[in-house]
């Protein structure tokens, strides 16, 4: 069961090795690329980036993703957390990262990440997933491919039903 599934630019889902280590606030930082909390990033982020590491920041549901606005160009990755799959705040965080803050790095879903929500996640601009249900890339591709049309605009910029009908 892959720890990390990525959605490539062409829409394919693949399992990938994860170059990042997620590090808690209290733990010592290992060498290499790390994902740290917003708090830790605000304290140590500059230093870590100057060491040449790729740095990712983990955003909790109650945290405002706008706090990263100025740092995004230097970040490799933002991890949006789902403490339970029912907590939908990460969908907004991901949407804002893409639509409002123009983030082009990896947006990764972490936590209680289930393939049943794959479609929603991709539409909100999430392109990497740490599945919590033992699912594999084929299952994610299938889940995402289930809907031939969408009604509303979202962060993925997918053509909407009204656009298909030839209206704006």
């Amino acid at each position: 069961m892959p720890k990390l599934i990525k959605r490539l630019a062409d829409g394919q889902f693949v399992a990938e090795a994860d170059p990042f280590t997620a590090v808690s606030d209290e733990a010592e930082l290992p060498p290499g690329d790390v994902i740290i909390s917003l708090t830790r990033f605000q304290a140590e982020g500059d230093r870590l980036l100057s060491e040449g590491r790729a740095v990712g920041v983990r955003i909790e549901p109650a945290e405002q993703v706008e706090a990263l606005a100025y740092d995004l160009p230097r970040l490799a990755l933002v991890a949006v957390a789902f403490p339970t799959y029912r907590d939908g705040r990460a969908y907004t965080s991901a949407t804002l990262l893409r639509e409002r803050l123009g983030f082009t790095g990896e947006v990764r879903a972490v936590g209680d990440v289930l393939r049943e929500q794959a479609g929603f996640m991709v539409r909100c601009g999430i392109d990497a997933f740490e599945p919590n249900d033992g699912s594999d890339p084929d299952q994610w591709a299938h889940a995402v491919g289930r809907h031939r049309h969408v009604y509303q605009r979202a962060a993925d910029g997918r053509v909407t039903a009204f656009q298909e009908r030839g209206e704006g």
Partner: protein
């Protein structure tokens, strides 16, 4: 009526197939119940006391005869040949199997129906005025906006896991037949002085355990900006709504704790960021509007001789006309309300055979246009006065002609403990008792407009908070007791009812209603309804009558 095009049909088909696969995985044990529950709820499937319950969406209460016939058929094929209309204008089937549900959804999809988002922490069915397109009073047809919102909200990727459920209602006439003021978002269609169409936007209304009247955060939102503004409201709610306590998770709590002004300010700030990019193109709005273009009405005289003669000859029809027919904007036409509150029957229930009768009437006499109301009745909005008697006779033969619209026996009741896993007490027997006690139609007309609403638990699906008389079933050490409230209203004069006194045992409720009615008949002045008299006299005479000496 909005007719589904190939894209709309594909969306339903894909959703049906998706759920079919999810059910198969659940039955095979590949998903846990905890993981499956929100999925089945977002497809309208509850697990209730006796079986699964499927809540079919009737978007903004509107359906045609083909769809009503399919509901009848589904009832026969998969359930016990009946259905129950709800206070959000949906239809519930109470004896459903999980394993049948994918086939049921496929049958529904074949007539452009579905159960998408009729439950779950997502945006629910938008409700609108059941007289839309038929009443002279409306500023604009609310169905246009309801259908646009339905599409925008269906499988919305950002807003499908909200802190809690989200209900939107749209009213477009001075008389509010949607209870918009007690919805998470209530939209009131308005026209600015320069003629621009727009909405007054109210947020934070709601019933449930803690009722709130919605507060206006925008006096006039230009109609072309509706969707960017809705995005802003939903986004603020999604981010800030409480997720730590289910009883405090609705937007009404957020609006109340921030204050309407601050909440409105945050929405405004977010709205500015969303900008016009979030709005629906005019062309799409025009396309949807075109679907609701008025079908050609005939030019008829205001008076129908056939109608007048029938009333003169048939006293029962005259009574039906008096109570159940409402004014139509076109001369020679009428709005027919169909009561699903036959005396002694279950409020809101309809057999499959009865559904077929109304479907046929809709097709033959009603321009194939049938509506469900939030008071659990049906409406044929376009019937010629010339045909009213024929419609009445067909309804009467099917037990659907009870002449009690808006009268005391036109009771709203949730299914209650007879069916619902959430309930504390039964609601249906209480409704039946009261209806039987006031079965005398002359007396009912003498009493006039009196809205009794009964909920079997604090979730308030029976809307008891906004009943002129509200009845809430409570569990007192395992016995069924009922708390009465007075003075609620779900209309444009919305108010929350006040508790009358200690809860009564089941056998005392109908007698208490009698006592309240007697006080009203004694005290009323002029044309006062029960609600008006209560608002003038206050609770004292009513409380004394119910709680004075033991009966």
């Amino acid at each position: 009526m909005y007719l589904y095009d190939a894209i709309d049909k594909d969306i339903l088909a894909d959703r049906t197939q998706e759920f079919r696969e999810q059910v198969a995985r659940r039955l095979a044990g590949e998903i846990t119940e905890d993981q499956f529950k929100p999925i089945r709820l977002m497809n309208g499937l509850y697990l209730q006391l006796h079986a699964y319950m499927l809540r079919v969406a009737i978007p903004y209460g509107s359906m045609d005869s083909r769809q009503l016939r399919m509901l009848a058929q589904i009832g026969r094929k998969y359930d016990k040949a009946y259905g129950h209309f709800t206070t959000r204008t949906n239809l519930q089937f109470h004896w459903i199997s999980l394993k049948d549900t994918p086939d049921i959804l496929a049958d529904l999809a074949s007539v452009d129906m579905h159960a998408i988002q009729t439950s779950g922490n997502c945006i629910r069915n938008v409700t609108a005025d059941p007289y839309a397109g038929a009443t002279a009073e409306e500023i604009d047809d609310p169905r246009v906006w309801s259908e646009a919102i339905r599409q925008w909200s269906s499988l919305h990727p950002e807003f499908s896991f909200l802190p809690r459920k989200f209900k939107i209602a749209i009213t477009a006439a001075p008389k509010d037949r949607t209870a918009a003021k007690v919805h998470d978002i209530g939209l009131v269609v308005r026209r600015a002085r320069d003629g621009t169409l727009g909405f007054e936007v109210m947020v934070g209304g709601g019933l449930g355990a803690s009722p709130y009247i919605g507060q206006t955060i925008k006096e006039f939102l230009p109609a072309s900006r509706l969707f960017s503004y809705l995005d802003a409201i939903l986004r603020v709610y999604n981010r800030l709504g409480r997720r730590d306590n289910r009883t405090k998770a609705r937007i009404k709590i957020l609006v109340s704790s921030l204050g309407a002004e601050e909440f409105g300010r945050q929405v405004e700030a977010e709205w500015e960021q969303v900008g016009p990019a979030g709005d629906l193109p005019d062309t799409e709005l025009a396309r949807i509007r075109g679907a609701f273009a008025a079908h050609p009405f005939e030019t008829l005289p205001t008076q129908s001789e056939a109608f007048e003669r029938a009333k003169a000859a048939d006293a029962a029809f005259a009574r039906f006309a008096r109570n159940n027919l409402k004014p139509h904007k076109k001369p020679g036409y009428t709005i027919v309300e169909i009561s699903l509150k036959a005396i002694g029957e279950t409020p809101g229930d309809m057999t499959s055979d009865q559904m077929d009768v109304v479907a046929d009437l809709g097709a033959r006499y009603g321009s194939d246009d049938i509506r469900a109301t939030h008071e659990q009745n049906l409406v044929l909005p376009h019937v010629k006065l010339d045909d009213a008697h024929a419609v009445y006779q067909a309804l009467a033969a099917a037990g659907l002609a009870t002449p009690n619209i808006n009268l005391i026996s036109d009771i709203i009741a949730c299914p209650g403990l007879d069916y619902c896993a959430l309930a504390n007490a039964r609601a249906i027997p209480v409704a039946q008792d009261i209806a039987r006690r006031f079965a005398d139609q002359d007396r009912a007309e003498l009493i006039g407009e009196l809205k009794i609403k009964i909920s079997g638990c604090i979730n308030a699906c029976g809307h008891h908070h906004v009943g002129h008389i509200g009845i809430l079933g409570v569990d007192k050490k395992g016995e069924e007791f009922y708390q009465l409230t007075l003075g609620g209203s779900g209309a444009e004069d919305a108010s929350v009812g006040k508790v009358l006194g200690p809860a009564l045992s089941a056998d005392r409720v109908a007698g208490a209603i009698d006592a309240l009615v007697d006080v009203y008949l004694r005290e009323r002045q002029g044309e006062e309804r029960f609600l008006d008299t209560y608002r003038r006299t206050g609770v004292t005479p009513f409380k004394e009558a119910v709680y004075a000496e033991a009966h």
